[in-house]
């Protein structure tokens, strides 16, 4: 039987673990933004080898399940002699995976800008650098904000997979608690509620940004 008191009691210890979920997805998106921007720059560069490398990067990371990426990365580190905490490996994997999607978000936003925007800058004699930093990128950034928030929601959900390498985030903590209390239904539902609350907040933020940029 489903017990409401057990369900309510499950929340408290999970809140603590949820901070790691937020930490991993937050750092993951930050890293993803940095790498994704570089990958996008490579994809748009005039040098064919760079473009090719970026295309393969994006195709591989979007083609391989995150869980498999996670294990590959997790098992590669010791082999190449890097001894870091599992949480570091988790953040890096999540960030690298996100970089592929973020690069595509940038690319889409830049491609969606009307050609005339850059032409107007070029026509008054702006340098390519100013054209990018003053005209193209600020607009592409505002345009992609809702998509980036969406990517963050995906990462919050995807971060549940790092539980398989033993990181005590929300999912792993609920597994542990379910094992000790023998009440998996209540515990997992409580975990689901916390995920849902986080993501509903983020979705509201996304809608707000979309509304603000639409004006």
């Amino acid at each position: 039987m489903f017990s409401i008191p057990v369900f309510l009691q499950s929340f408290e210890p999970l809140f603590w673990a949820a901070r790691y979920t937020l930490l991993i997805s937050g750092l993951g998106i930050a890293l993803g933004l940095v790498i994704g921007t570089l990958v996008c720059a490579a994809r748009l560069s005039p040098y064919a080898p760079l473009r090719g490398f970026a295309a393969i990067w994006v195709s591989f990371l979007r083609g391989v399940p995150l869980l498999v990426q996670l294990l590959v990365f997790y098992y590669t580190l010791p082999v190449i002699g890097i001894d870091v905490p599992a949480i570091f490996a988790a953040v890096v994997t999540v960030g690298i995976c996100a970089s592929a999607y973020i690069s595509e978000i940038w690319r889409g936003a830049i491609a969606a800008l009307p050609r005339g925007q850059a032409e107007a800058a070029v026509a008054i004699g702006m340098t390519p650098r100013d054209t990018w930093t003053r005209v193209i990128l600020p607009q592409a950034f505002t345009m992609s904000l809702p998509a980036l928030v969406n990517e963050l929601i995906l990462l919050v959900k995807a971060s549940s997979l790092v539980s398989v390498v033993g990181i005590l985030e929300l999912t792993r903590a609920s597994q542990a608690q379910a094992a000790t209390t023998f009440r998996p239904l209540e515990v997992y539902l409580a975990a689901a509620c916390i995920y849902l609350a986080i993501n509903l907040c983020l979705a509201a933020l996304g809608r707000y940004l979309e509304h603000r940029t639409a004006v």
Binding site: G63, V64, V68, L71, K157, Q175, L189, A192
Partner: protein, 220 residues
């Protein structure tokens, strides 16, 4: 990797691949069916039902697939829902995919110009006939690229089923790697395998799209 390992684990890997493909195909078909039902109810059903469905969509889209599987597989028995790993996994995939499929169908239906439906009404077609003969065929075609896309995402999600011990490919690979201690190689090969699989599916999907939509593109 030595050949003897492949010889030893080959059959299990093949079985695992079979289960992966099975999960992917059935998950896509069931998920699409449920999604289509949801989209139709949202369009034609009573408003209160629409709200309930909207809540269902938010919950499924707001929670990780893995946690959904845990609720279903480990929590299910407490309310009398006792399923083996494979059926639980399939049910999980179906539920997980349904809101995304529903959203795809919904925007596909929105893309059907209202004039098309008015034209059908104008010649006296009944609503169910309009759905069957006009809305569905046109809506499905415009949903096709997104359907293929999401079906590819589902291919990748099937590996998560290994965590609740569904004996699909990743499960077999993990078993093999714990017994042989070849963790890195095994997972690397698995990664390359999925990369090839996803690239192939998306290529086939694109070809399918151009073939199906060919007659709809106006000649200029």
């Amino acid at each position: 990797m030595e050949w003897s390992i492949l010889e030893q684990y080959g059959p299990a890997l093949l079985r695992g691949f079979g289960v992966t493909v099975l999960c992917w195909i059935l998950g896509t078909i069931f998920g699409m069916a449920l999604g289509l039902m949801i989209a139709l109810i949202q369009r034609y059903g009573p408003r209160w039902l629409g709200w309930i469905i909207q809540a269902y969509i938010e919950v499924i889209r707001g929670t990780p697939f893995l946690v959904q599987l845990f609720v279903l597989y480990y929590g299910g028995p407490l309310i009398g829902l006792r399923l083996d790993a494979l059926p639980a996994g399939l049910l999980g995939l179906t539920i997980y995919g349904s809101p995304y499929f529903a959203e795809i169908f919904r925007s596909g239906f929105r893309a059907v110009p209202h004039g098309q439906i008015e034209a059908a009404r104008a010649i006296g077609m009944a609503e169910p006939t309009i759905v069957r003969r006009v809305l569905l065929p046109l809506g499905l075609v415009s949903s096709l690229p997104a359907l293929v896309n999401f079906s590819i995402i589902l291919t990748k999600e099937t590996v998560i089923l290994s965590i609740i011990t569904v004996p699909e490919l990743m499960y077999q690979v993990s078993r093999m790697s714990t017994e042989t201690f070849r963790y890195l190689e095994a997972n690397l090969v698995l990664a390359l395998f999925f990369w090839a699989l996803v690239e192939t599916i998306s290529r086939v999907g694109r070809r399918l799209e151009t073939r199906i939509t060919k007659h709809l593109i106006e000649r200029t």
